[in-house]
Symmetry: C2
Subunit: 495 residues, 2 copies
């Protein structure tokens, strides 16, 4: 969920100063148009890590736009009046009317997260709160509201660095609030439950936008850009405004930094180290699969990656460790006729392994948000809702004890070109390279965006993605095996 | 939820025999058309009370239609294979492909209800199961599936009568299953949790249909008719089949019996009894409102009813018992400009009373599914989703301790005519009768249908409707007061 917001996004001041005037003007214009034709209200939810710029962002919006058309509501302690009424009453009374923008700072999400983090209730009650939030938002969107949900994020390292810097600075240390200190204790919990909440409440009509908050220029410009694109799309729509889909790209990367771009692709293993580590990880996997605790679990691995990234080779190294009766390899190509007559996920459900067994998916249900999205094989509405459906699916798997390990094998463009050429020259590999591979290569940036969105939307506390630096096949194979082993061990330990 | 299915619906055999051939032919035709153009699958969920004809209905469907295109799945004990996998796997493997019909007998709803009734888990876990069911159904409908959810119902009396009859009949007593006996013990719980489940999972794209199951002719013909109308609507829709709305009328009353029609409208009170009972109920209300347990509750009453049914008079008798500082009267007319700029329910949320206080709504949020539905002031999609939104709203009220009492004051057409005429002849009442009242009168049957649907969809275990036989104003006023008092007392006792 937060991967793309922990890679050190930043914009320099000159770029910021150069871009800001046009953004402000466009925002003001959109705001004015909305006021003139008040067809829907705009609701902006501000959440995330303390110190990631939530307060500053709200201040900025009031500076940039016409503050007479913005109402900011903070929801801290409930007042006597609020305490005497149903919990949602405080939100209803602050709803902005059509034509206006309401900024909800400290909203239903902050309340449920605080409650869960501090142990006032367990997951089942958290899920009820999530459910209420979903009902409220769906109703608001059915009534035409345009909702933006922002999560301002800091990695744990960034959060600590920030606290230290403030503390050491006598002129600014007063800015530190008790909340800041509290959160430095509870960061891990906050992020874990945050992932649960975001995973379950990100819908196509009200998606979460996670923004890295460390660099204020990047943070502000990104937030402004998302707001602007969403507003313009909604204003343009002539239909009765009902459940505006957020049509903008999910990934907004103003600094051209991306999650995939942040990988250290130079990592390698020499032959000796490879052979030693491979053998030891294979032995470890064989042992874990025979462990009696495996009876309570099943294992599912998903292999996705660039063409020629070495999925097949990695899978063979995994399989080599095992008795063929323990695992099944499921290669995913175009759906069969029988599969086309069923809901999208049906073809994957049928291969869910029973406890004690292991299924390897060579490509997977993520085709929907990768190839089908990029090639236009399904509608935007379809792939947008797929993120939520996939998260639901994976939750069902993990809840039943399935250990789910998802790999994206990443290579850079040069390496791909080199491997394509090698394949063309090697007789027994020639069948592996087709016209289509060359065509896909031209869509490299589109696939990169799709991968970024995919990881941001589906790397969850229950089923995280592992990005594998695969320029060096040896490094990749060992990382894959080790990740699977670590995941199995962690699951056994949690039992 | 179950009100309309406890009034003794029945059809005689001759009518049944006369109607059946056309229904069967039309069903076969629809089934054939679906097979020829397999654009979507049909999923039929069969739930309800034991002995209400669930099994017989499934048999009938196989008789009436082409059984080669129907697959019946029963989900009793999980098999070993199923137990080794996520809970939903058993449903996925039985999904019918496009062009076919799958009948799910003993499905996800039966499982969650059995679990809750027998105390295997509490409401929070039940709500998680409900949530999973909702996700599954939404996904299926997004993928084009047409889902019918049938609840076959028996009143407690009918259930007991049926058991008795079977038991006494040596030729049929073998039909009694252990489930039947068990349910006679758990009927109340089963119905109460059933209401919770139906309330939360009835969506416009997958509504519940509650069918009274005592009379087999009525039950079979009604089920067939609903199925046919839903199928025909979906087949006609040329759009990409996504979330077919169920366009048929929610109320299918083949025997012309309706909930309102089942009221005993001859109930009256003579003047002496009235004055005595009125005074005693008013004193009771005054006492309850001053009771210190009232500090943990608020009271909300909703008055709806036919024009000239006596809402105003009843409200005055309630108010007369109280200190004006304790209650507020909120008459609901056309929304103000400010209210039109907000979501539909906003105008009601703003009047939610704090604990200790009482708000009387003279007409209410039910306008959406009554006048706005009948007069076409909102779209069908709007009023169809309103049932769910209203149930959510009322759940939030009651969860916060609000005691919610909803009245439909019912008079017959003769009484209304007589009262209209009196009003026209009484100078100080003349303002109360307008052209519009006469126009509304012509839409009597449309309003009756709307009221029937309203009660069926929003009379819930947390906020039941009270139908008030109001041909006699005295009887109505006392019934209103007594119902409020009983509700308050029950709430105090539950504390």
């Amino acid at each position: 969920m937060f991967e793309s917001a922990e890679i050190g996004h930043a914009i320099d001041k000159d770029t910021y100063d150069a871009e800001l005037p046009a953004l402000r003007e466009a925002l003001l214009e959109a705001q004015f148009e909305l006021q003139q034709q008040p067809r829907f209200p705009v609701i902006v939810l501000i959440n995330g890590i303390e110190g990631a710029g939530k307060g500053e962002t709200v201040k900025l919006l009031n500076e940039w736009m016409d503050p007479r058309l913005i109402q900011v509501s903070t929801f801290d302690q409930q007042t006597d009046e609020e305490l005497a009424r149903p919990a949602a009453w405080r939100y209803w009374r602050q709803l902005p009317p059509k034509g206006r923008m309401g900024i909800f700072f400290g909203n239903w999400y902050s309340q449920m997260l605080q409650g869960r983090v501090h142990g006032h209730f367990k997951n089942a009650v958290l899920d009820q709160a999530i459910d209420s939030a979903e009902n409220l938002e769906r109703m608001l969107c059915d009534e035409g509201a345009l909702i933006f949900k922002f999560w301002f994020h800091l990695s744990k390292k960034q959060m600590k660095a920030r606290l230290k810097a403030l503390q050491d600075d006598p002129l600014r240390s007063w800015r530190l609030s008790p909340l800041d200190w509290q959160q430095s204790q509870t960061y891990d919990k906050f992020v874990r439950y945050g992932e649960r909440v975001l995973r379950r409440t990100s819908r196509d009509y009200a998606p979460w936008y996670v923004i890295e908050g460390f660099d204020e220029y990047y943070r502000s410009l990104t937030m402004g850009q998302i707001l602007l694109e969403g507003l313009q799309t909604a204003l343009k729509s002539k239909q009765r405004p009902q459940r505006h889909p957020h049509a903008g790209p999910l990934t907004v990367s103003l600094d051209n930094r991306s999650l995939l771009g942040s990988l250290d692709m130079s990592q390698r293993l020499d032959k000796d180290a490879y052979q030693e580590q491979l053998a030891s990880e294979q032995a470890r996997l064989a042992g874990l699969m025979r462990d009696k605790r495996m009876r309570r679990h099943a294992l599912v691995t998903v292999f996705e990656g660039n063409d020629a990234a070495g999925k097949g080779g990695a899978i063979r190294r995994v399989a080599a460790a095992l008795d063929p009766r323990q695992y099944r390899l499921v290669p995913i190509a175009a759906p069969t006729e029988e599969e086309r007559a069923q809901p999208y996920l049906w073809r994957f459900w049928r291969h869910v392994p029973p406890r004690g067994k292991f299924t390897v998916f060579d490509r997977s249900w993520y085709g929907r948000v990768l190839v089908e999205r990029v090639e236009g094989f399904c509608s935007q509405a379809d792939w947008l809702r797929a993120y939520g459906e996939i998260n639901d699916f994976e939750e069902q798997l993990t809840r039943a004890g399935v250990v789910l390990v998802k790999f994206w094998l990443s290579i850079d463009q040069d390496t791909q070109l080199q491997r394509f050429k090698e394949r063309e020259q090697t007789p027994f590999k020639r069948f592996k390279i087709t016209e289509e591979d060359w065509r896909n290569r031209e869509k490299w940036p589109l696939y990169s965006d799709a991968v970024g969105d995919m990881v941001d939307r589906t790397s969850t506390e229950i089923a995280p993605w592992t990005l594998v630096e695969a320029n060096d096949k040896r490094f990749a194979r060992v990382k894959v095996l080790r990740t699977i082993n670590d995941a199995l061990e962690a699951a056994f330990e949690r039992d």
